[in-house]
Symmetry: C2
Subunit: 109 residues, 2 copies
DNA sequence: AATTCATATTGTAATATTGCAATATGGGAA
DNA sequence: TTCCCATATTGCAATATTACAATATGAATT
């Protein structure tokens, strides 16, 4: 059906899945990496960095914004995108809960 | 188009995106969490844990297997799924390269 | 006011994903 | 062999995603 069932899962799982999903596209991951390594907020520089058309990038940006990974501020003609550091810290914690396996658990295969 | 453009991105980015994408579904994330916290390999126990039909879970399992997150071993009647610890360590490293922002970079907004 | 530049939105077409019923497959038990 | 049990695969149908052209918007510049 193309529709993702979310009932029956803990909200922590569905929340984390949304973040992973947002990061699960080369363009969006490249945008995140670019923003994480930039000293200043970048605007249309992103368009020059990513090999996709401007409308497509705009849509990816709004998707990252939707899950709270980034933040956009209008500055005159330009829009300034950057990682929402506060939210990022929370998300990183969320991600690590799934990324890091329990050390005290030994698997039999 | 529904098609994801991968040309023009570093392979490190597209590789990581595939992993994130695989984790970007509640069912798959729940499976990973379950496997990470189990002392033994689980087989059809997963079907009892996830509120989805067996064929759907089977498909999610094969998707996780495709990106190397898990491993399946046939044991008589059952199939034993568990996290591929070696590959997981590599993937964790890959994920952290994108998850952890540079500390020496200060953002202006 | 007219133009330009940066970005967002909308429309549309192609493709991918998801979910389940139905069905296969293959091992072990009877 | 026949019957179950566990799992995989296939075949849809519904929906989501992706990409881009065209267009809108809105600020600054002329």
């Amino acid at each position: 059906m193309g529709i993702t069932k979310t009932e029956g899962f803990p909200s922590k799982v569905t929340d984390a899945a949304l973040v992973f999903k947002a990061l699960g596209h080369p363009a969006r991951l490249a945008i995140m990496e670019y923003l994480a390594n930039s000293t200043s907020c970048i605007c249309n520089d992103i368009v020059d960095q990513i090999p996709l058309a401007q409308p497509t990038i705009s849509r990816h940006l709004s998707e990252l914004k939707k899950v709270g990974l980034i933040q956009g501020t209008i500055e005159g003609k330009n829009t300034c995108y950057c990682i929402d550091q506060k939210r990022w810290a929370e998300l990183k914690k969320l991600i690590n809960e799934f990324c890091i396996p329990q050390n005290n658990v030994t698997q039999s295969c």
